[in-house]
């Protein structure tokens, strides 16, 4: 190659080789057995280096192969379309943040550390729990880590999860814990869509390591009997893990108020784009209990002082981590979702204590408006009686797949098909009233 913008030393090869004292670059690879040397170019990309403009054209081509909808999709399932304020994008585009590394050298990275400390603090106050790490990959893996953490604490191998758990989270949990042979047992829901407490009481035994509660659950329904569940757990010394939609906490009780041991969730709804599944950010919080904190996976930033007595931030409890403890570490996690955590911090700072409540209210209202309208037009009825937030499962009077196809043909992506007649709809602040009306009119056309 003559030159490349990303390879600055192509014209310095001879000069550098001379300094090294060898004749050719091959001499630097003399320890690589000839039989495994490749001796050809890797067949990747499009045959030659592309200029930025050519890359741009290729990306535009790919983009045009994605369907462009005229309305944001009515899809949830744990991650929902939201508006991401420009300030959030702006901050995480700052070079000093996004091209930096885990702040192993705290003196030169106080800004990054403080931003992560602020993330931890804002989530702590939103959750009303004292300790938050920064950060895990996503909700599913955060759940898996919480379960592995429970196992490390009490050595037990049975986990109870609600039948209304997000199925994708459950799949991740199954995979991650398969090596440890953790047994996952489901507890059914009642007609409200909530965990059936009586059944739960029955299946709880001494083998149970932890009970998982998802609030609101996969169908958007609020669990209203969490105190009862934590009571049951407390009696058997079972660890409680609560998964929450963090945005819903503008309206509903935070996990800290239920005194659960571990709370998890995903920061996607706090200022992250959909990103076709990632990057998101797995949230994990615990209460003020050393037994829990010592087993917590991931980085934690703490406040301390420097030699002059000035406040400063640094990574703490590093002896839990893989690079120090190797096979005895609390997790293998290294690269995490720090930048996304900062996005969460910026988003929460923008909202503030009133904003998060107002936004949650607006979403509550809009999703109920949609559901009411669907029922008003006799399109079917909501599946569960319990009150809901953002998402709801609707049973149509007609096969939903046909409705879905019609919507697609109209440039609208409807709710997530669950089975023949049921679909999970997600309504947020990006769905204006007129968009909701538009959706429902199109469904009406198909149903009638």
């Amino acid at each position: 190659m003559e030159y490349h913008p990303w390879l600055p030393n192509l014209k310095y090869i001879n000069e550098m080789l001379k300094e090294i004292g060898v004749n050719s670059i091959d001499d630097l690879f003399k320890d690589v057995p000839e039989e495994i040397k490749l001796h050809r170019l890797l067949n990747v990309g499009y045959g030659k280096p592309l200029s930025e403009y050519e890359i741009y054209l290729r990306l535009q081509e790919l983009k045009s192969k994605n369907t462009s909808f005229k309305i944001p999709p009515f899809l949830g399932g744990g991650v929902c379309p939201h508006y991401v304020p420009e300030v959030v994008k702006f901050v995480i585009s700052r070079s000093e943040f996004y091209t930096s590394y885990t702040p192993y050298q705290p003196e030169i990275n106080q800004g990054l550390l403080q931003a992560l400390f602020e993330y931890q603090s804002l989530i702590a106050d939103l959750f009303e729990m004292e300790v938050v790490n920064s950060s895990l990959y996503d909700w599913g893996s955060a759940l898996a880590e919480a379960v592995l953490m429970s196992y490390r604490i009490n050595g037990k191998k049975k986990i109870i999860v609600p039948r209304s758990i997000n199925p994708n989270h459950k799949k991740v949990l199954e995979t991650w814990t398969s090596g440890r042979e953790i047994k996952i047992q489901e507890v059914n829901y009642d007609k409200n869509g909530e965990i059936n407490i009586e059944e739960l009481e029955k299946i709880v035994d001494d083998e149970v390591s932890a009970i998982y509660i998802q609030q609101p659950n996969y169908y958007g329904v609020f669990e209203t009997n969490i105190e009862e569940i934590t009571d049951i757990a407390r009696k058997k010394n079972i660890i409680t893990i609560m998964g929450v939609n963090p945005l819903s906490l503008g309206l509903i009780k935070p996990p800290g108020e239920y005194d659960v041991d571990i709370a998890i969730g995903d920061g996607q709804e706090l200022g992250l784009p959909l990103n076709y599944g990632g990057p998101y950010v797995g949230i994990m919080a615990t209460k003020w209990n050393y037994k829990l904190i010592r087993q917590m996976p991931g980085r934690i930033v703490g406040l301390t002082q420097d030699t002059d007595g000035n406040p400063g931030y640094t990574l703490i409890l590093q002896t839990r981590e893989q690079f120090a403890r190797r096979e005895k570490a609390t997790s293998n996690i290294t690269t995490n979702e720090a930048l996304m955590a900062i996005a969460n911090a910026v988003y929460l700072s923008l909202l503030g204590k009133n904003g998060i409540e107002n936004l949650a209210k607006e979403i509550y209202k809009r999703s109920h408006y949609a559901k009411n309208l669907m029922e008003k037009y006799d399109l079917g009825k909501i599946k569960f009686y319990g009150d809901f937030f953002e998402e709801f499962l609707f049973s149509f009077n007609k096969n939903y797949n046909e409705i879905h196809e019609r919507l697609l043909s109209k440039g609208i992506h409807g709710g997530l098909p669950i089975d023949n007649n049921n679909a999970l709809f997600c309504i947020t602040e990006v769905h204006t009233k007129s968009m909701i009306d538009n959706l429902i009119n199109e469904i009406k056309e198909e149903v009638y």
Binding site: L10, I36, L62, K65, N66, T67, E118, P279, H404, L408
Partner: protein, 493 residues
């Protein structure tokens, strides 16, 4: 330059983001039992205050765009700005959308799977793993299931003593016991020890090549033979792929499973610790165990498929696709020619550094005549006797406008300084780094106190780690600080 905590900027009824409101007449009927009673203690700020706060914090941070970050095993290469275009194709696409409505993304994933298979010399790849460690966990779970299905009782994982800490940690998460293979005096896997240890309890051997000393495991084919002789598997930790990219492929070396760190080798920005992006690739029968979904092309359409014996799902959806597409643009930009230069140019940079530093008496180097690949580990032990440690050298570099090397790793080298220059640093910058290091070494001889007192020009000086971690003073959130000041929480126990 000091910036208050965002809680200390708090105002009255300020909101930095205007909430859209529709005229909908619906009351909030959430059961009283679960309604939040007190608003969360979030600060209230205007947009300007949020922007200024975080811009100031960013100015107190250091990334590759600011200066060289010679962090060994982290491959802090330059992240080309064209990558910022990439996210446009993934940003607003919901992961549960009908596959037919995301064909552009699936096509990109498909191409990446193919290219990474070509790069690693494997049969098939999944880009579901969000980071390298997740890739390792996936890999060991695949090994676990593979042996289990064959009804073999393989409860032990071999790991080199110079391995990244993630290797044993991942093995352990999947339920394996870990045995370390000691390196020989040349810094390579000791074949004799390996032969002795290998038996039919061994699930596999996790190896990185070039290893963390930057040395190519020249006996890798023999290692492969030994491991496979007991139906055990060879796992490639891709963290160090940058040093041989374009020269040799893990598949051709005999590895069965490989993970790739797209945020290292393929220039996805590190984001202050993440998000990264990874891939997990496998060969032959092992490919059937890859996590699902994998994108295939069927009837001119891209579809998600589930490998026959898949271990399941590792991430809630498909991995960090928003970052995979950045790596995609990186590969497009370099093309076959450029990608094939990376191993050469990164190795050239490392050996150039070595040639300029190896005669420094403050530093010592194992097997000094072996060429390194992407990185080199010096020992500052000669200096430590004079009171200047690897940590001191690291801090002194901060004062000279450089980030520090990785220190005290690998643990087999005392006072280790692990330097990875990458192929993206101009020779002139390498020269400046060499100068800075030489100056520090000289100063360490003449005036050790001056080096021990660094850093002097950073936002804060060295931090009190005891106070940071002590149960009576540990402060992992502002909430803890507040509650402690209010006397509402006790010593952590």
């Amino acid at each position: 330059w000091k910036e208050p905590l965002i809680y200390e900027i708090n105002g009255k009824n300020r909101q930095g983001y205007y909430i859209p409101e529709e005229n909908i007449n619906i009351s909030i009927d959430i059961p009283e039992k679960i309604r939040r009673k007190n608003k969360p203690e979030l600060p209230e700020l205007s947009e300007l205050e949020v922007v200024r706060h975080f811009i100031r914090l960013s100015q107190m941070s250091f990334g590759v765009d600011v200066g060289m970050m010679p962090l060994g095993s982290c491959t802090m290469k330059y992240n080309p700005k064209v990558e910022e275009l990439a996210t446009e194709i993934t940003e607003n696409i919901h992961p549960l959308q009908d596959q037919n409505t995301a064909q552009g993304i699936l096509e990109m994933i498909f191409e990446m799977q193919e290219w990474l298979a070509e790069i690693t010399g494997m049969t098939e790849c999944s880009i579901q793993v969000p980071a390298g460690a997740a890739g390792e966990l996936t890999g060991v779970l695949m090994m676990e299931k593979y042996h289990r299905e064959k009804h073999r009782n393989r409860d032990t994982m071999l790991v080199a003593d110079t391995a990244h800490g993630t290797n044993p940690a991942s093995a352990s998460m999947a339920g394996f016991k870990v045995i370390y293979i000691k390196s020989n005096e040349e810094g390579l896997v000791d074949i004799d020890i390996l032969k002795e240890i290998v038996n039919d309890k061994i699930a596999g051997f996790m190896l990185t090549n070039p290893n963390t000393l930057g040395l190519f495991e020249e006996n890798v084919l023999e290692i492969s033979k030994i491991i496979h002789s007991v139906d055990s598997l060879l796992y490639y930790d891709g963290a160090n792929l940058n040093g041989i990219l374009g020269i040799a492929r893990p598949g051709d070396m005999g590895f069965d499973i490989v993970h790739v760190n797209l945020h290292k080798t393929f220039a996805v920005p590190h984001g202050g610790g993440g998000p990264g992006a990874g891939a997990i690739c496998a060969k032959g029968e092992l490919a059937k165990y890859l996590p699902y979904p994998i994108v295939k092309k069927e009837n001119n359409k891209y579809v998600f498929t589930v490998p026959e014996k898949s271990i399941g799902k590792i991430a809630t959806f498909y991995g960090n696709i928003g970052n995979v597409v950045r790596a995609y643009t990186y590969i497009l930009g370099l093309g076959p020619q450029g990608i094939s230069e990376i191993g050469k140019m990164s190795t050239l940079a490392t050996n150039y550094l070595i040639s300029k530093l190896k005669s420094e008496k403050g530093l010592s180097l194992l097997a000094p005549n072996r060429p390194r690949k992407h990185e080199v580990v010096f020992s500052a032990k000669p200096l430590a006797e004079k009171g200047v440690t690897a940590l001191d050298i690291a801090k002194a570099l901060l004062d000279r406008g450089f980030y520090a090397p990785t220190i005290y790793f690998p643990t087999t080298v005392e006072e280790a300084l692990m330097i990875e220059p990458t192929e993206t640093e101009p020779k002139e910058t390498l020269d400046k780094f060499i100068e800075a290091l030489k100056e520090i070494l000289k100063e360490s001889e003449n005036n050790p106190k001056d080096i021990q007192d660094t850093p002097k020009y950073t936002t804060v000086k060295r931090l009190d780690q005891v106070k940071a971690n002590h149960p009576s003073s540990i402060t992992p959130s502002y909430r803890v600080k507040r509650l402690r000041e209010q006397g509402k929480i006790n010593i952590l126990k």
